[in-house]
Amino acid sequence: MMTDPFDRLARRIESQRPREQFATNLRVRLVDELGAAGTDQRSASTSSLQLARRIEPTIPPIKGRRFMSAATEQRSTQAQPVTALVPYLTVHDAAAALDFYAAAFGASEVHRFVGDDGRIGHAEVAIGSVSIYVSDEHPEMGAVAPRSLGGTSAAMVLAVPSVDAVYANALAAGAEGLRPPNDEPHGDRMATVLDPFGHRWNLSQPSVEGLDVDSYNAGDHGFEVRSPTQGGIWAGVVYEDALDAIDLLVEVFGFERRLVVPDETDSSVIVHSQLSWPEGGIVSVTSVGLDHRRYNQRQTGNDSLYVITADPEGVWRRCVDAGLEVVNPIGTASYDEGLVFSVRDRAGNIWSFGSYDGT
């Protein structure tokens, strides 16, 4: 029988030391996860090992979960995943509040820490599958209640199976109704109550379908739903013929037309637009010289913009086909291996497209 050619692929496990930085970081993470103290020498002589007292978190950990200390955060190379967010409600009468939350929301008390002075320093209740912490006011530690503040800036949103039932319960327990249950245009059924201690609770009954952005934006609700994924700087460019420029950006360059707002009396005048680059970033093309816009009162044709794209060649071909004036033909940049080119739009602005993204 002949030998199996695949036998030749056999590979022993050959030890290989990873990058020092990686080895160090992972060790730090390991030691921290274990709550054990590591040694500085990774060669780790046994005698140098010692177990340090773990620094306890300043906030009580959720059962079975471990809060990362700030020091860990700094040393770790990777962002630590957040595993819980717990509202900590300061109230002017914590004992009464615990009763109220039980009656209104069906909260069950896990425990309470009663101080020598009678104040509740910390209490934990569970509402369904979530935890909420409650304490009396401790102004010396910055914990003050809505009554002292004259209001509250945060609201709790409780996702519940029946907004109507919980709303009725809360009112019966002594809450003030701010907004009765209503089917909101974003699809959820919601209601708002103010509890007797000044905290605002939004009751939310999510719709099965979830938010339909398109149909919401099609309606007249006074709000527009926007995605947070666009670039952080918006470039504003003014043109004599803004409509023509928008056509160029969309048809030739490849921008997406998100929003174009013409003037009410003259539709050839563009007062606002949002053209998004599919790979990130937004350009706003508007008509030059709008009376009420000081930043539109400037010369046209003097701007230069650089757009990052993984496919400069594709954009380049479209620009050549459109007969745009070439400022720099496509080629490799001196600072990067990727391709880049520059063209002039019909108004004179220079547009550069390249794969270099600064990294």
Binding site: M2, P5, F6, D7, R8, L9, A10, R11, I13, E14, S15, Q16, R17, P18, R19, F22, A23, L26, R27, R29, L30, V31, E33, L34, G35, A36, G38, R42, S43, A44, T46, L49, Q50, L51, Q78
Partner: protein, 174 residues
């Protein structure tokens, strides 16, 4: 500094937190070496190495017995590697190698290791996993089957298909 009895006991039993740190110090090059030689990417090998040791942390914290060993870590590394290939394949919607004419199992060739690595990397996740475990790692079919969660019979069939896929990609020009 004196040690607490608890630590001394842990060390004697070879389990517990500081035992794992000791294991890390000795086994890191083995785990990383195993992964980097099979996946061919430093950053991927680093990610998977981290996952392996975090799994060890979880095992220690859950009181798993016996305590992790180098062999245990390598076994976890195998599973992480296979999982990675499988997930990546789902993401990339990579097309499986189309079946060609059935090839005889006789293949007289001296495989070039570099070329073989390229071919392995081009195979689908199942074929790559099966061949890596069987031939690079030298596991028995039974062990390969355990890692892949298949029966021995199904694994034998998979290995036949994987060898054929490898052979087609490797090409006759080699």
């Amino acid at each position: 500094m004196s040690e607490t009895p608890d630590i001394a006991g842990n060390r004697m039993r070879g389990s517990g937190p500081d035992a794992l740190v000791l294991l890390y110090d000795t086994a890191l090059p083995d785990v990383y070496g195993y992964l980097v030689s099979r996946c061919g990417s430093v950053s991927l090998a680093e990610d998977l190495t981290s996952e392996v040791f975090m799994a060890a942390v979880a095992a220690v914290q859950s009181g798993r017995k016996p305590a992790p060993t180098v062999a245990w870590l390598i076994s976890v590394a195998r599973n992480k590697l296979i999982d990675h290939w499988r997930h990546r394949e789902v993401e990339q919607r990579r097309l499986a190698v189309v079946d060609g004419p059935t090839l005889s199992d006789d293949w007289e060739v001296v495989l070039d290791v570099m070329r073989s690595n390229e071919v392995l990397a081009a195979l689908g996740a199942h074929h790559r996993s099966a061949l890596t475990l069987r031939y690079l790692d030298g596991l028995a079919v039974r062990e390969v089957a355990d890692h892949l969660g298949r029966t021995v019979h199904a694994t034998e069939a998979l290995l036949v298909r994987a060898r054929h896929a490898f052979r087609r990609l490797y090409g006759e020009d080699a």
